[in-house]
């Protein structure tokens, strides 16, 4: 068993009597790419600043590389950080920006030059070395900011929403670049974002946070396929998971799910075998979580999916997919159909519901039931 590169135990952070972070426990192995994701104000950036030592913690411990870092100043934590605003030193050239940390630490000149050249080559910023940050584009500044972190070769990299100031196209490019860097360097990274797509594409491990509390820790596929509660289910994935109020009951030996529909027969999904153990003779209120891709056109449905005719309210063609809105259990529900699906708003369409990857949540607590 390898030693975790970052190990956070029972961490609390309070401002006065307000708890910003509550009982945070996270640890990552060397080479992990941990993404902290959540809506704004969930405490993810505060947690990152606590790891960096830029903010004090109220209780608990943070260990980096097996060494307890509680109370250790940022410069002695063997970390490097990339900031949202890039935070390049405006009066220094790109080269000076990158070597500033080494200069402060008294690394000798030849070594500084060697590492600068190496990083500049890696990030393809050699032609920019003599420019000032003000003369660079957003993407170039981003590269310089990463260069400043890379050159330090730290135990742990910290990224604070590094892509949120870039335009959409550049963001996708830089995302790939960061992924490639992680792959090539096998660096350990903690990365903060509010963008769930960034989280899914980059992470080896995701921490979903809300209100200073960790909602779920898992691999991207665990988070996506088995969300721990309705918040995670709703937050991760685009379009969001459909959360449909429904009833679970036992019909003979089989569980079935009943969804009310306005102005027509309720929709009954049988063969909900995965939920057999949960069902009882009496009806039980549950919330059915179905990803849009688990509702498809009946003609192209996977085996085992159950067909039903539904009234189509809105059709949104999106190039590769066509999204179809229907109404189930009083909620608007999105289905993801293939691009050339033959549906028209206001008509009925045959849709197939695949319960294989469905989640069930308790309506009162929001927690995952099955």
């Amino acid at each position: 068993m390898t030693q975790p590169i970052l190990d956070i135990r029972n961490l609390y952070k309070k401002y006065g009597s307000v708890e910003i972070l509550k009982n945070i426990n996270v640890s990552i192995e060397p080479g992990d790419f941990l993404v902290l994701v959540g809506p704004s104000g969930c405490g993810k950036s505060t947690l990152l600043n606590c790891i960096a030592g830029l903010e004090d913690i109220s209780s608990g411990t943070i260990a980096i590389g097996g060494r307890d870092m509680t109370g250790v100043s940022p410069k002695d934590r063997d970390i490097a950080m990339v900031f949202q605003s890039y935070a390049l030193y405006p009066t220094m050239s790109v080269a000076k920006n990158i070597t500033f940390g080494m200069k402060v630490r008294g690394v000798d000149k030849a070594e500084q030059e060697r590492k600068l050249a190496e990083v500049a080559r890696q990030l393809q910023i050699e032609p920019l070395l003599n420019r000032k940050p003000g003369q660079l584009s957003g993407g170039q500044r981003q590269r310089v900011a990463m260069g400043r972190a890379l050159v330090r070769d730290p135990k742990l990299f910290l990224f604070d929403e590094p892509l949120s100031n870039l335009d959409a196209k550049l963001r996708v490019e830089m995302r790939t670049e960061i992924k490639r860097l992680h792959h090539n360097l096998s660096a350990s990274i903690v990365y903060v974002t509010h963008d769930q797509i960034e989280a899914m594409t980059l992470a080896t491990k995701i921490v979903v946070m809300k209100g200073g509390v960790i909602q779920q820790i898992g691999t991207p596929s665990e988070i996506y396929n088995r969300p721990a509660n309705m918040f995670v289910a709703d937050f991760m994935g685009s379009p969001a998971m459909n959360l449909i109020p429904a009833k679970l009951r036992r019909n003979g030996t089989n569980a079935e799910i009943v969804i009310a529909r306005p102005g027509s027969e309720p929709l009954v999904l049988k063969h909900a075998a995965r939920f057999d153990s949960l069902a009882s003779a009496s009806e039980k209120d549950i919330v059915l979580g179905l990803r849009p891709e688990d509702i498809s056109a009946a003609s192209k449905a996977p085996a085992g999916a159950q067909e039903a005719h539904c009234h189509v309210e809105i059709v949104e063609p999106a190039g590769a997919d066509t999204f179809v809105m229907i109404r189930l259990g009083g909620k608007e529900v999105t289905a993801r159909l293939h691009a050339d699906a033959d549906v028209a708003p206001g008509s009925d369409a045959a849709l197939a519901f695949d319960l294989d990857k469905a989640s069930l949540f308790m309506p009162d607590t929001g927690l995952r039931a099955a």
Binding site: P74, S85, V104
Partner: protein, 296 residues
């Protein structure tokens, strides 16, 4: 149809031209109005006493001479001594230069702390410093005299420097603090992670960014300290008086005839350094004053 249209635009042009001319005339009149005293001072300083008595105030000098300037600089009498402004001018330089430098440096350090290293009670302390800007000079005269006496600095130039530095800190801190709050806090955080400490961040990152606000502060402080009369007259003694006090003494000397040409030359000499600072750095002054308002 087209005729009237052309005529009406022609009329429009004439009106616009007249308005523009009126504007220029108004501006020129105001400029002349403000320059008039300076003009009178300069021409008077170049005339002989004879010509001043006989000629018009506004007339150009018939035989321009720098004799009055020479006398003002090195021969005019302040009370019983007749050494001109020269020794007092150097007193003012010895007083103003260190006082400006020290108060600017302390202002930069204070502003940096208030803007980027927040601590408990910072707001109250800053409010207190601001309050210090608005305390009238007269209020502190007696307590200050007592303190200077206790420190054995009474009547010395270092004593005057101390007074001006203390009085200047409120303003210089305000200037630098307002300039530095526009600098994102992430810059300090990045430097901390890079391993830089408090002073390294100030000297390597903040001071190199500060040229516009340094210029503003230096102009402000230099003008204040050079032009100060009250502290100068209160806390100096024979031999350590600044130029403003000497000027007063020359003009108010009651022995012999009133030498208007010498008085005028002396007044211009006493005002020259502040004029010079404005001319050299004035461009940055306007730029620096507005720098805090627009980010970047």
């Amino acid at each position: 149809m087209t005729d009237t249209a052309i005529r009406s635009t022609g009329q429009g042009n004439v009106t616009r031209l007249l308005l523009r001319a009126g504007l220029y005339i108004l501006l020129i009149v105001f400029a002349l109005y403000y320059l008039m005293p300076l003009y009178v001072m300069v021409v008077t300083s170049l005339k002989s006493l004879e010509e001043i008595r006989s000629g018009s105030l506004m007339a150009l000098p018939r035989e321009p001479s720098l004799a009055a300037w020479a006398k003002a600089w090195s021969g005019a009498c302040t009370g019983i001594q007749c050494e001109g402004l020269q020794p007092y001018f150097w007193n003012s330089v010895l007083l103003a230069v260190p006082a400006v430098m020290i108060s600017t440096l302390i202002g930069a350090l204070n502003g940096y702390v208030f803007a980027q290293w927040r601590f408990r009670g910072a707001d109250i302390l800053f409010a207190g410093l601001l309050f210090g800007c608005f305390i009238p000079f007269q209020v502190v005269l007696l307590p200050m005299a007592r303190v200077l006496g206790l420190m054995e600095l009474a009547g010395t130039i270092p004593g005057l420097i101390l007074v001006h530095v203390i009085y200047g800190i409120g303003f210089t801190t305000l200037f630098f603090r307002n300039y530095y709050v526009t600098i994102p806090q992430e810059l300090v955080r990045a430097a901390k992670v890079d391993g830089a400490g408090f002073f390294r961040i100030l000297f390597s990152i903040f001071l190199p960014l500060s040229a516009p606000i340094v210029v503003v502060t230096v102009i402000w402080q230099f003008t204040q300290i050079w032009n100060d009369f009250l502290f100068g007259v209160s806390f100096s003694q024979a031999g350590t008086q600044p130029v403003t006090v000497a000027l007063n003494n020359i003009v108010n000397s009651t022995t012999g005839v009133k030498e208007y040409n010498v008085d005028m030359a002396a007044a211009i000499i006493a005002a020259l350094p502040t004029l010079l600072v404005y001319v050299v750095a004035g461009k940055y002054f306007i730029r620096g004053l507005t720098a805090g308002s627009v980010k970047g």
